[in-house]
Amino acid sequence: MDWQTLRDVVLQFVAITVAFTVVLLIVAYTVLAERRVLGLIQGRLGPNRVGFGGSLQPFADLLKFILKEDIVPDKSTRFVYFLAPVIATMAALMTMIVYPFGPEVNLPFLQRTTQLVIARFDVALLYVLGVTSVGVYGIALAGWSSNNKYSLMGGLRSSAQMISYELSLGLALIGVILQSGTLDLYRIVELQSRWHGCGWFILWLQPLGFFIYLMSAIAETNRVPFDLPEAETELVAGFHTEYSAMKFALFFLAEYINMFTVSMLATTLFLGGWNVPFAEDLFGRGTLLFALVSVIGFLVKICFFLFLYIWLRGTLPRFRFDQLMNFGWKFLLPLALVNIFITATLIFLNVL
């Protein structure tokens, strides 16, 4: 291994560490934000005692999870029982590396230009879909290995729900792929920089695709109103009934990281990624300030989605299981096919 490769490996390692740390911090504060916003919606305050205005609450929660008693059910399938939360968290974190956080930037002092993306490769979008689909096993195996009826029901519901909605999710993305002609996420974001950074795909031909993606994404992350796998009024706590302490925390973490990555994908594909309107004209291409504004723009768009998630949780009731399946198969799936048809026709007629 020569010097050049070693430097690249170290740089890559630093980039991954920074991205993971920032994302995990944001995820921790999403939990706090969720509790505060839910409090607002329900006319109460939410946690506000630990630190200034509750700002240290996530760390207090983490400490509580670490210190709690770790209970393992006697008749559980031990190996799979321990493997399941690891799969869930790992699959959630692994997609993080392909999202472009910002544009090309000239690094000061290093005389080096770099793109603010950890790994850029040909099939980035397919990689995201693949890793996400492996994440199902975390929940399904957790439900099975706990040796508990409610857990098993939760696991079964979850796998049925996730393989159903994965279809409409994938089909919703095809419109964007047709329009951009590539699976490389960085290139897709670059294509949306037209018209001073206003060429967002949601505005140009993909509002329907965006809607379908949003619905399926909420179902994929098992959030209200599609949180059947952990419906507390029917299944105690669903697939994680038998999980306690840090292993439960891992599932919790995986759910919120999934929310985050799904929002990242929605932003990247439909809301222009890091494109902030007129930022390039103001600051100039490649400057540090432009990169900073772009990254902040990217994060603001993600926060909008996270807020949407919390908002939905505070205001919507849960679907019944047959309603969930009917909605996925009889409404979203045909709609996604119609979207593909419209997009393909318009591209064929050279309207775009």
Partner: protein, 221 residues
Amino acid sequence: MLALLFILFAGIAIGSAIAVVAQRNPLYSAISLIGVFISLACLYVMLAAPFLAAVQVIVYAGAIMVLVVFVIMLLNVEQEERRTRLSFLVPAAVGLAALLIAEVTFILYWVQVSPVTPAGNVSDTGLTASIGTGLFTTYLLPFEITSILLLMAIVGAMTLARRTAELPPGARVVPGAQVLALNIIDPTVPLDDTTAIEAHTTVEVAKILGIPDDHDPARRD
């Protein structure tokens, strides 16, 4: 470095493949099979075929194996009991293993002595664009035939799983009969029984024959 990674992924693939057949618990076998698929995907990436790797994970690990795990969980399949296997399987397995090893040795030997030097490791055959171009130009016919085959499989599965089926117009049922006779399904064949009743769907036939309907909404509690 590459050789090290290859040994790692190939080792995981072989180990998981052995675990698939050695495990007694069906779910453990399924998990091992997922391991095989994922390490194969890693090997595809090393062979500069990222598209194939991604599709391998999405289709096999992400869709097919989820269904397998789903079915194992739903039926709650118990651990298979140890029983005596068919005795001819052991020599057959030994023979097939010898054949496989011979094949691999042969290929490795001929790659070594082959006068053609392989092209550099930079190639675009594994990239999405070139695979798409190939599928929709040179290999369009096999691609379309495969799609039609898959479509037929889906339609067939749906027909088999369907609860209510339409009968040809004029189909008649004889009350008290155990099965539908051929001349009842086919109305062109003349009937000799005058008690036959006309029916339009399989549900109506079941009602006339007195077969209880499990999926009747009125009977559901």
